[in-house]
């Protein structure tokens, strides 16, 4: 691929992001602006922003790559990524907004009336955020290497630099604009090239998918355990993602939080048709990428291979721009939510503290990413989902719907889920992809029930620790807001 194409695309996306960040600088002034955009973002903006933030390297590159490798088995990934939002809508969206908390640790502290539960939650949120940023940076490294031939670390450093600049300049208000813009950029960047390719194939008279059943690597099909465990992780992991949840605080009320989620579902459904189309086309016309271990680069390479010439370069530039939008938007969303947590807990909650916290939240994963190798992107993000499903998800679900949850139960459950799932992740990386049995590679099917069970049992045993504020809190979480007295 022409290296100028990749560099030009990255510079254009970075400039657009920075321009939005600068625009945000002029209108965000108070601490409230920085943290939750004053809670006045409209549902369409907010939904586009959630979509922009959520569609990470795993969705943009990883899903198509995995479909190329394992065919219909991999189609469960986009299904799970989307259906996770249905679970979020059903169990979490409106009550979480009505809790009035800024961050997940705020929620646990208010619900459980316990500083200790807050600290454990903060720790888990920071770990989730860092774990999630690392695959984004791996994606950036891959994209830079494939498209420009520059060393991989250039991509990682560039992404972190742009994110730090945007977040530190504008906080969440500008981030909302940036994210919303990046959803539509990502959609266009995937849609235009694949439509071009499909029309070209149709006019050449080639059957759209002659032999999609071809298995380029000869890998065995996934068994029922793999599919179930994957779906548990994706369905329950989404409702614990800190950068997604922080977005719900920017809705004006509970009902608009629900409407936002519905729009997000629509946006994601449209988006995920595209990586599926890339995967199917790649399986038919470029199965060689799977054998050469470049499956994750399928989306980046397919337009150039199929079209060629000037048009191919232009389409490639578009896809590369979309990929960088994906790395930038997810990373900046995570950095904002991590910085919110770190600055409130350690640095006193000031704007200055938020800026320092943003720097810390971006630099640590940069260090981790530069020391580790890229696994399959969709797979490593799937593991992060398993981790949130085993830690944050049980606290939220039980905290919102069960009066009996106590601080001791919440802490015990989070620690259990975190240790089991974290242990499985470490064991998996020690054993390597080939040597890991599937119950360790996809741990959610047993770590999530274990976390729930421990949380319920310990809460029952410490019944007298149920906070006295529980009646008032459950009322606040579940009753509709009055039209006027929204903020108290």
């Amino acid at each position: 691929m022409n290296p100028v194409v990749g560099i030009a695309a990255f510079v254009a996306v970075s400039l657009a992001t920075a321009a939005f960040g600068f625009y945000g600088l002029r209108i965000s002034r108070t601490t409230g602006d920085f943290y939750v955009a004053s809670r006045t973002v409209r549902p369409w903006w907010n939904a586009s922003a959630i979509g922009g933030e959520y569609l990470s390297a795993a969705s943009f590159l990883g899903v198509a790559g995995l479909i190329l490798l394992s065919g219909t088995d991999a189609l469960w990934f986009p299904v799970g990524y989307t259906a996770g939002y249905l679970m979020l809508l059903l169990f979490v969206a409106a009550p979480l907004r009505r809790s009035g908390a800024y961050t997940i640790p705020d929620f646990t502290e208010a619900r459980l009336d316990s500083r200790a539960a807050r600290r454990v939650t903060s720790l888990v949120v920071v770990m989730v955020g860092w774990l999630y940023i690392v695959p984004q940076l791996h994606g950036a490294a891959l994209a830079i290497r494939i498209t420009t031939g520059l060393p991989a670390w250039v991509g990682q450093v560039a992404v972190v630099a742009v994110v730090c600049f945007t977040v530190i300049a504008g906080g969440m208000r500008s981030i909302t604009f940036v994210q919303a813009f990046q959803y539509w950029l990502k959609l266009t960047a995937l849609a235009v090239p694949i439509l071009f390719i499909l029309f070209m194939l149709a006019s050449n008279g080639t059957p759209a998918a002659a032999d999609a059943a071809v298995n380029p690597t000869g890998a065995p099909a996934a068994g029922p355990y793999q599919t179930i465990s994957l779906l548990v992780a994706l369905l329950f992991g989404t409702l614990g993602l800190p950068h997604v949840l922080v977005r719900f605080y920017t809705n004006p009320d509970g009902q608009s939080a629900r409407r936002t989620t519905l729009i997000v579902l629509g946006l994601l459904s449209v988006f995920y048709l595209l990586p599926t189309a890339y995967g199917l086309t790649g399986r038919t016309f470029a199965p060689g990428l799977a054998q050469s271990g470049q499956a994750d680069a399928l989306v980046l390479l397919l337009p150039g291979r199929m079209v060629g010439g000037m048009a191919g370069d232009l389409l490639s530039a578009l896809v590369v721009a979309g990929a960088f939008a994906a790395f930038l938007s997810t990373t900046s969303g995570l950095v904002v939510s991590l910085a919110g947590v770190i600055s409130q807990d350690l640095l006193g909650g000031s704007v200055r503290g938020f800026r320092w916290a943003a720097l810390i939240s971006a630099l640590v994963p940069l260090g981790i990413a530069s020391m580790t190798d890229s696994l399959a992107l969709a797979g490593s993000v799937g593991l992060v989902f398993a981790f949130t499903a085993s830690t944050i998800c049980p606290v939220l679900l039980l905290g919102i719907w069960w009066r009996g949850l106590t601080d001791a139960g919440a802490i015990a459950g989070m620690v259990t889920g975190g240790v089991l799932c974290g242990g499985a992740m470490v064991a998996g990386s020690v054993l390597g992809a080939a040597g890991t049995p599937s119950w360790l590679a996809l741990p959610a099917a047993w770590t999530v029930p274990a976390a729930f069970a421990v949380m319920v049992l310990v809460s029952r045993a410490t019944r007298d620790r149920v906070p006295r504020t529980i009646t008032r809190l459950m009322t606040r979480l579940h009753t509709p807001e009055r039209p006027l007295a929204t903020e108290r």
Partner: protein, 125 residues
């Protein structure tokens, strides 16, 4: 405006700021909701919202299982095609999204209706 002493049965200490008219209205609504009669309504709202969420989630998961079973058990799906695309790809790659959207839409409508009924019961205008 002078400070107003809050006499509602609050379990948390009131914040040390002067209460505006809106805030005291909100406080009296909270007081009504925390009374025994108010809590009957609140608990029934929570129960109906939870039941609704569980029913929608359960229905959606059943459909998901049905999709998986059809893909796994019906032979020849990979060979049959729709508009040139293999049927199993269309089913899993595009067919689940409308189900997700429909479930979400049904849930939102019914949840809003539950809340409207609650508003009527507690006499909120």
């Amino acid at each position: 405006m002078t400070r107003v002493r809050v006499t509602a049965p609050r379990s948390m200490a009131p914040r040390g700021t002067a209460l505006t008219a809106a805030r005291s209205a909100a406080a009296s609504r909270e007081a009504a909701e925390e009374s025994d009669a108010g809590q009957v309504f609140v608990r029934s709202l929570i129960r109906s919202q939870l039941r609704l969420a569980l029913v929608v989630a359960g229905g959606f998961l059943l459909i998901l299982v049905a999709f998986a079973l059809v893909l796994g058990l019906v032979p020849g799906l990979a060979e049959s095609t729709i508009a040139g695309l293999p049927f199993n790809w269309v089913l899993l790659g595009a067919g689940i999204y409308p189900v997700t959207g429909l479930s979400a839409w049904l849930y939102i409508r019914t949840a809003a209706r539950n809340e409207a009924r609650y508003r009527d019961l507690v006499g909120d205008k």
